[in-house]
Symmetry: C2
Subunit: 332 residues, 2 copies
């Protein structure tokens, strides 16, 4: 059986060019013992993948050159030599960026049985959703009535973070760019602040207007001026959960950082980085808490969908243009 | 009775000039009810005082212009209308920068009864010592075997931090400048690294050589290149206790910060600012733990002493030249 997959030939500097991603074809070998063959139906593209293209080990190994790229995917079992799986089973796994995956059965997760579309397990009930929940609850220790600020607030992670915060917290403010994103936030009763064409000083002023008392929690996805402005608007005892710095992932040289870290001292604040994979043993807990709310329509989630395997690199690159609303997905 | 005190007429920008500090004289009124008159014997000068000269409220109100400056001091009661104090009692209080203080008795602390020189209660057993202990134990959660990095490691706070860390931790590295400070560190079995004439990259390389495995804890007193280098050398799960950024206190304009905060993410590290005064209820606990070790000579502490009230501003300004070893004091 033929499988097609994307690979990269080089580790790019700066914004990866579209041509970096090459579509390959291979003939899959016969299934080995305990192996399962899956026809992927949905692929995830996520900002963290840029880090795996750097050629350096961060918290995760870099992608191997000329080998199939990896990422979360949902698919249907089409052939199985593993006792736990049979044809037709829906599964989640990490062999994305390809149409047909062939894997040991023990790396597959059967999809939970909830009344949600299967691709939700790549987004609101997948890694991005779990990231929002972990950052708020396990890193920032969100408490009843806390004022919460979220950057990239209409993205896959941010859009769940603002809604979870809204259910617990006090004032919730989301930073986003495009008009439709700001509108989406306002529709969900989140105070929306645009970062467009603003330096940190102007953004600080706008955050002050949106929430004069300042923030107990900042959920950080962006870096740059967003971080600097947020540091200016912390309350005493504030917690910053650092999920990502998407504004910096394509920097060719190291840029300088915020000059106002002294606010951590003045406000006795805490800033803590986290990687959701460290907390994955809590996934069932997350699913139990958030899953029913998604199934009942209490939590809104958006998807931006590209069609066809060939569009996977385009979907990925759009993340850095802020072209997605909610979870960016590829439908095969 | 005449009292002399220092005041400032303006809030300075940049490094305060010596002329900023004016010596005034006043005739003290008769003692009011519950008041006590104290002849100060030792005055403390500390880096945090620069923040009170900024004219802006940080975590503490700015100094009032033309009014006596404040700071920790030790003195002897010479007259009392408070039932708890009598002439000859040794006390600690916050009415420093003057020779004679007149205060309500309830703001005075009697000196504890330990076999240490009285000025130790301004240093190793005072605010700086308590700061080192709090930062390591309450903020950075120092654990057995942790590798610990301390900047300004021969200062009032740092010199206790390295010794406390040494007693619990694994490898302890101290950053300092002058040769005699580096020597002091080496004599106490602390690996000493100089920051002089080094950018963050070179300092990172030297820290790597001193402790190849990286650091679990960073006790931050300095900022600038020290912080950037330390961020490059964190272990997974590291904790940074931010006590101060002395390298930045006299900046006239906001400088940029470290461009490598992404290490907080990669290393799932935490950076937390703290103010020792928030933790003062733990002072008896600190004293019980560290006091006997100081009395028994297990903890070494240095003092840099200026003689006479007139020299108080000079002592203060020397802090920013790194001219002190251990606690900077003024003896009256």
């Amino acid at each position: 059986m033929q499988a097609r997959y994307f690979a990269i030939r080089d580790y790019p500097r700066g914004m990866p060019p579209r041509e970096l991603f090459e579509l390959h074809s291979q003939t899959l070998p016969e299934l080995g013992e305990d192996e399962v063959r899956i026809r992927n139906t949905w692929l995830s593209v996520d900002p963290y993948m840029r880090g795996r293209m750097s050629g350096m080990r961060t918290y995760i190994a870099p992608f191997e050159l000329d080998a199939p790229l990896e990422g979360a995917a949902i698919g249907e079992v089409i052939e199985s030599r593993h006792s736990r799986f049979k044809s037709g089973d829906k599964v989640r796994h990490m062999a994305g960026w390809r149409d047909i995956a062939q894997l040991k059965g023990d790396v597959l997760e059967p999809l939970p049985d909830m009344e949600v579309p299967e691709q939700a397990y790549l987004g609101v009930l997948g890694m991005p959703g779990m990231t929002a929940w972990t950052g708020l609850n396990r890193i920032a220790n969100l408490r009843e009535g806390d004022n919460v600020l979220v950057s990239a607030a209409s993205g896959a992670v941010g859009s769940l973070a603002v809604q979870l915060a809204k259910a617990t917290g006090g004032t919730v403010v989301g930073i986003a760019g495009a008009a439709d994103k700001l509108e989406w936030l306002e529709e969900h009763d989140i105070r929306a602040v645009s970062y467009r064409n603003k330096d940190a000083r102007q953004l600080s002023a706008d955050l002050e207007e949106a929430c004069p008392e300042g923030f107990d929690v900042y959920f950080e996805n962006v870096g740059g001026a967003c971080l600097e402005a947020a540091l200016n608007r912390l309350k005493v005892g504030a917690r910053i959960a650092v999920c990502g710095f998407i504004s910096r992932y394509n920097d060719e040289a190291q840029q300088q950082g915020p000059g106002n870290l002294s606010n951590l001292l003045i406000k006795r604040a805490r800033m803590q980085g986290f990687i959701v994979f460290d907390h994955w043993t809590e996934y069932p807990h997350f699913l139990e808490e958030v899953g029913p709310r998604v199934a009942q329509g209490e939590i809104d989630y958006e998807e931006t969908i590209e069609e066809g395997l060939e569009r996977t690199p385009d979907a990925f690159l759009k993340l850095f243009e802020g072209a997605n609303r909610g979870k960016m997905l590829v439908r095969l």
